[in-house]
Amino acid sequence: MDFTLSDDHKALRDSAHVFLDKEVDLGPLLKPGATVADVDYAGLWKKIVDMGWPGMVVPEVYGGLGLDYVDLIMVVGEMGRTLAPAPLFGALAGVWSVLAAGSEAQKTQLLGGVVGGNLSLALAIADADGGYEAPGRGVSAEAAPGGYRLTGSKSFVVDAASADKIIVAAVLDGERRYFVVDRTASGLEVELVAWRDITREVATVRLDKVPAELLSGSAEDAWPFVRDRLYLVLAAESAAGAHAALDQAVEYAKQRVAFGRPIGAFQAIKHQLAEIAGQGECANVAVQYAAWALSEGDPRASLAVAMAQSYNSEAYRDATHRNIQVFGAIGFTWEMKNHLFYKRARCNAELLGAPASQREQVIQILEREAA
């Protein structure tokens, strides 16, 4: 048992902290009616690519940094803390999909492109009802000369608009398989959704006989592999976001005076802050444990990530709700950042299924263990 972060972990976290504090500007989003189009998604991404983050989890054999998941949460936590608007989520989803479903040649080619900064990816898997269950209904694949063609639509595709290629889950012969399509291919349309978290691009992807390449290692277990890792990403963002919400609220509670005292001196305020602090610590440890379990290939990893995602989603939502409560009326004006954190928390809690769906997984895993 050791909770010590290594010097490398700390260095990675600190460099991400400094970099993102300097580069992230949420200012353009703090005006009525702002959308994700108001931030420089592509500009920040270019700088992130220069930092080498898209290749963090790409194994060294494909040219990546081959870092583990504890390393990853150092960076993802900072992305969550700052609400950095950039397509890291989509890139990671794409990388893990290729790792889970690609042939060696495809991994070499696609992951090499990601590492080299020439290729950004996204994963289209959710159906219109937000479901992720196999085989899915939204897109079907049919054989065509030289490959396949995909027809249908996928919803809630994170970072599709800024991707060069999209990994699409489609039904082939009654089973879910994974395909690669060019975002600019004829017949492919990406429509940004009016997603309430305006720090993140979410789109609907429609395909009409779009030429596609089958990831030839596709199998049913690809999604659980990817999903577990994406749970970790969201849980890490949520833990860091909850801490950010706490820090902001504490700072404000020290400054804002009511009835002759800083509002932080009132129990109604300080107890709320203490609640966030407690949940925030649990969220932090939950995500570290999950990252460690994934890195070690521990058999408890799937349970750990499902619990972390379920717990941290709710902790983040509570923290940002209370954060706005502490700020009072000013906390839900456009010119403050509070609402951005609340929206991120709310959307993180739904993006890969509500906390209830992770609870369902927890139950299933426990039942399997008990059997």
């Binding site: 649990c282 440890v285 379990a293 927890v362 008990a370």
Partner: protein, 363 residues
Amino acid sequence: MISFELSEEQQIVRSTMAEFGKTVLAPQARRLDTDSCIDDGVLAELWSTEIIQAQAEAVEEEAGSRSPVTNAIILEELGAADATLALAMASTMGFVQAIADQGSAEQRARLLGGFAGETFQAAAVAMMEPRFGFDVSRFQTKADKAGDDYIVRGVKAMVPLASRCSHFLVVAEADGAADAFIVPLDAAGVTVVEPKGALGLRALEMAEVAFDSVRVPSSMRLGEGNGADVQRIIDSARVGISSILAGLSRGVMEYVIPYTKERIVHGAPLAQKQAIAFNIADMHIDVEAMRWLNWRAAWALEARQPATRTAQLAYTYAGQQAMRIADDGLQAFGGHGFVKAHPLELWYRNARSLSVLEGAAGV
């Protein structure tokens, strides 16, 4: 380097304590609660685990056997069996650990031998005070310097197994700061007040102890000339109680699961109803959250890092969650939950007691 793996020794301790708790302690919990007393036989069984003796005997180089993380593991397992007996162990463990950790060489040599023998020997940290508005940062018990001695005046409350303790570690204000003094039960001026009974932890015979101008030599000031780090004692106590609460919560969950699989309501087992199934998933997640926070705080104590914040959060969090879990567990059993045929009402009372042991956790 970050790792969440228990050492081999910790894994062995964990499984041994789990088995001991399940087979030896749990079956006696109801009887002890009814009798409002822990009999000598049960105390002897607790003592037979040799946990306290090992901590009393450990020399400096073997500080591992006083590992706060291992203690947290032990107390969770005992708490899963019976919170009262876990606290009986934790109380003496807290005293021994404070002496071993902070005592001068002479204090360790003089006192620890008394906890390395073959029969149960209770001792306790006397921290709480019987007044509304008490908090652990302000003690009304005072220790005033009188020549080479201190004169301790005040009343301590909720001291476990008070009349069986050989010594108390009395936390008192000395020269404007919190300090700790080792006071034998038989010192002139020490009186154990008859226990008044309590909602839960009934068998623990928690009582007030009055210190009426008790003369304590300087040599019995914990750490002697250096004085005591009282905050570290408080932090350790909080982690200990929150570990017991995590164990208690796990015990509720493990008791509820088989029942909800067997109990048929509206044609299907309760466990298949989402309202129950999700509750159980929440219990599991919350027990894990409590445990990791406890271990995080225990590890900070072990690594001699600042632990006060995490220990306080762990205690407050565990108090809240354990109450919810005990309540949900009782609810899942419906009418069966509040009768003595099942332990849920006992666990509910114990959770309530533990969660306010240091004063209202919400305050």
